[in-house]
Symmetry: C2
Subunit: 265 residues, 2 copies
């Protein structure tokens, strides 16, 4: 499966940018396009994010679904989700037929930026099948927790999509942690970031697509970009056969990970 | 605490190399010296490793203890441990007074190289205090499992020592996974590798000391080296205060990690 990762700011016409990008990605052969965290509204926009929040089948979702149908591509995008009184930091995956395939709510909220606005999600593994691959969803800070990616690997995720809003000086997350995740948990990982300044935040780009071998297949710089990469099920099988980390785990030794509530003493 | 990491082959006189290295490290101000996996005998030496195996208080341990006492440095070294009929891939930590502080048996055995010789250990967290820091022990393949390092972080390990025998073409483990571990679990990590050819294996060096910020404080190349680095408790505290991954975990979402026995479906 050919995928595209959009790296750039939300800007004043995010849906227009989605339309332009999806057209360009589809022309390049992409069958799935990933946009950054909270792309449809912007991330660091204060309390506006609460009034802009929409249900999973809201106006924005329908506009994205029309673009998916028109170009026959799957689209994953970050947005603020409203569900009654609660607002979630969410990412939705729309299929190439416009169907809403999966909706994930960020489980690991990041500092005051997230906690003052959002309710945390309660399911770490949300998946859907796209072109025969099991696609999983996480958001930004989630991927810094190896447990979250491991849970996906154990549930069979082949390709993990991670919309993000990573700022400087945390480039080490994009450059080091994200490739480590793909290798240690033997899955493909696509990480889609913002660029430029938004309020007090300066996003660092550095979006990437990483193979389960740890090889970085595509890498953005600090400027806007459209990354293209091929997700190869045969390579995934071969890598898992050689790198047997999932089978070599010792789960009986990991009980503290699922029970320990706090930080180190 | 000043530490030193010895990168090099076991050679024909490993204890002689330990003596020379500890002298040089102590002269440089080191208070703890780390040697690679199975350093006292060599790693890829076939069934000889079984006949060379010794108990925790064997001849080799006593020789290392004398060097520790003489130079007033702690020493961690990999060796084959015999306990009755069982042989373990082990690392022992000797204190600056010659006391045997901790002995760890590799829990994640690597392929046929390990499995044909060794019994797996059953405790993932083994620690001892050295100069006020809680020092933990893992070996080689163990560190590729984020669960093992996380278990140490949750148990309060400040400095994780990882003797290894990493071969080409797995440089990504040393270059990417090891720095990711230090950052994601907020601890110092010292990774000590062999160099050169041993039987059919070509070791890749790339030993390192990484800070909890993810910064690589010292890095070996492919040749023999003695790395020196400073372990700073104040930096550790500051990094943990800023990077709150341990407190931000969602253990109630990680139950699959402690119960799931096999690979992905």
């Amino acid at each position: 499966m050919h995928i595209a990762v959009h790296q750039g700011p939300s800007g004043s016409d995010a849906i227009g940018t989605v339309a332009t990008t999806v057209t360009r990605a589809a022309d390049s052969g992409a069958e799935l396009v990933v946009f950054p965290e909270m792309f449809t509204t912007g991330y660091h926009i204060g309390a506006d994010i609460l009034t802009l929040a929409e249900p999973t089948d809201g106006t924005t979702a329908r506009a994205v679904a029309r673009l998916a149908t028109e170009h026959r591509v799957a689209i994953a995008y970050g947005y603020p989700e409203r569900d009654g009184d609660a607002v979630f930091n969410a990412v939705q995956l729309i299929g190439p037929d416009g169907a809403r395939l999966a909706n994930y709510r960020k489980t690991h909220l990041y500092g005051d930026l997230d906690r003052t606005r959002f309710t945390p999600g309660e399911r770490v593994v949300v998946q859907a099948e796209v072109h025969g691959l099991l696609v999983g969803l996480l958001i930004c800070y989630d991927v810094e927790f190896p447990e979250a990616v491991r849970a996906h690997a154990l549930a069979g995720t082949d390709l993990l999509l991670v919309p993000t809003a990573l700022m400087s000086p945390y480039e080490t997350v994009a450059d080091t942690l994200v490739p480590a995740r793909a290798y240690e948990s033997q899955l493909y990982l696509a990480y889609a970031n913002h660029t430029g300044q938004e309020g007090t935040l300066r996003y660092c780009g550095r979006s990437c697509v990483v193979a389960p071998t740890g090889q970085v297949l595509a890498r953005g710089g600090h400027d806007d970009d459209l990354l293209l990469a091929d997700i190869d099920p045969a390579l995934l099988r071969a890598s898992r056969a050689e790198n047997t980390h999932l089978a070599d785990r010792r789960p009986e030794l990991y009980t503290a990970l699922a029970t320990h509530e706090g930080a180190a003493a």
